[in-house]
Symmetry: C2
Subunit: 290 residues, 2 copies
């Protein structure tokens, strides 16, 4: 199964950004991609650099957005993983990945469960933590364990998706550097981000697709220094081996063949599932075991 | 706090191997190491390449071994992490890490919880799965989350140790290659092993010390092709960054300064603990969520 991810920048407006995404989807379809993954909140800038109620208007279009991307999936006959800003009612919003089947049907959605909040990433202002749990989404190209950005730091999320049958883990994400950080710190952050996601492939013997944005985006309030999204989107196999990886500066479409058979081959000889000590894992359900 | 690990080979007999270990401990002590970590089952060959009842005799000396390493810790005024073959009674054995305080007292022990069993690593024949749970061991150099080898593939084990207050994760281990595997497969295995352990540092914001054996050991039955233990012992910091790493062929002593303050610094800005969705983690306590 040929999969693609689209690492791109923000084009200044939603309209221009969506047009750019569309043209890249067309390109990926010409390369026979059956599954296409977009980055976190791919329609707009990463607006969580400041807390401003004006950005909630982006979520007003959630239903129209769903209809739009449904049509894109149908027209191109692809399974499409999108990342949208969902309004459920006034004052109740989610960071929601919507997955479309090849016929345009909504295959399922995932509401980001772990919500970050640190300087420049003020997501707790915008997003109510997801209430759908960790449920993989059945599609014609496999059962997809879709998680979003901050979720990637939580082995629990990846594990649960796998235990519920996910065949691929998918992370739309938006993460980057502050320019003023020293180079070594930037390198540690990027390495940590790659390593933790590759580890989910290894621990769970599933491929991982991680799609990050790229390019510099200013904070519109001018308070924060802006974020240079570090790209480095990648697809890795079930032993965490990198199949393809983007650089930290350019828009890129990455492709990889995902062979579901490899999961069984590796699990048979590295049978981690066999030996979990579930009767001794109670502490995992506690905040802290003091 | 200066820590050291000793990556070594098997010297043909327990006596010769222990003498070699002792001389390396003396060297590490001269370099002012306060915490010294030894590899898995460091007194003998990795005997689990075959299932042979004769090897149970190694466990008869467990109490004598404990007394011996206690005296080594006391004499050198070090916290010492050993990995021993424990006989509890006839027919009941464990793969047990015993940690000694600087005064020679037993600070605590950990019985390997996840027991592997695959061709050449027939541990389920020898070791009853641990019944002490995942309990960090308090010492004068910090609270040590000691886990053993196969445990390293389980994010659950690392997480629980951290949730119980472990300040360092420590993995005595014995893992290697079969010579006949293709180079790419060997590289994938080694990378996966490094990556999963570094990920425990990242997910839990704790340093990790992993001490592996090195050198070729034949299967004494001649049935299996023998194992080339791949060394590559390492110590990494709380973002998974490698502080020091051994090669795949030589005996080496590795040193690193562990700065516990760094844990707080990184956790304050990467507050993974804050956002765990514990009310949605029930599936982790199940064998499989079908």
């Amino acid at each position: 199964m040929k999969t693609a991810l689209i690492q791109q920048r923000f084009y200044g407006t939603k309209e221009a950004t969506v047009q750019a995404t569309l043209s890249k989807i067309r390109e990926a379809v010409q390369q026979d991609a059956e599954l296409i993954v977009l980055q976190e909140l791919h329609q707009t800038e990463y607006f969580c650099q400041s807390e401003d109620t004006k950005f909630f208007t982006y979520a007003n279009d959630f239903e129209a957005d769903v209809n739009y991307w449904s049509e894109v999936a149908r027209e191109h006959n692809i399974v499409l993983v999108t990342s949208l800003f969902e309004k459920r009612t006034a004052g109740l919003y989610h960071n929601t990945a919507v997955v479309f089947e090849k016929n345009g049907a909504v295959a399922g959605k995932y509401r980001k469960m772990h919500i970050p909040d640190d300087p420049g990433f003020y997501e707790k202002f915008y997003f109510t933590p997801g209430d759908l749990g960790f449920e993989p989404i059945q599609t014609s190209v496999g059962k997809l364990g879709v998680l979003v950005c901050w979720d990637q730091w939580y082995p629990e999320a990846a594990r649960i998706m796998m235990l519920k049958g996910a065949e691929i883990l998918i992370y739309p994400t938006a993460i980057g550097w502050f320019e003023e950080d020293p180079e070594e710190e930037k390198q540690r952050q990027l390495d940590a981000w790659m390593t933790i996601q590759r580890s989910h492939a290894i621990a769970n013997t599933v491929p991982v697709i991680s799609c990050n944005r790229v390019g510099f985006e200013a904070d519109n309030t001018g308070i924060m220094p802006g974020i240079r999204f570090w790209g480095n989107s990648f697809i890795c196999g079930v032993q965490g081996e990198i199949l393809t990886q983007a650089n930290d500066s350019d828009e890129q479409i990455l492709y990889a063949e995902i062979a579901h058979e490899r999961t069984k081959e590796v699990r048979d000889i590295w049978p981690f599932l066999r030996d979990r000590r579930i009767e001794k894992y109670n502490c995992l359900l506690k905040r802290y075991c003091d």
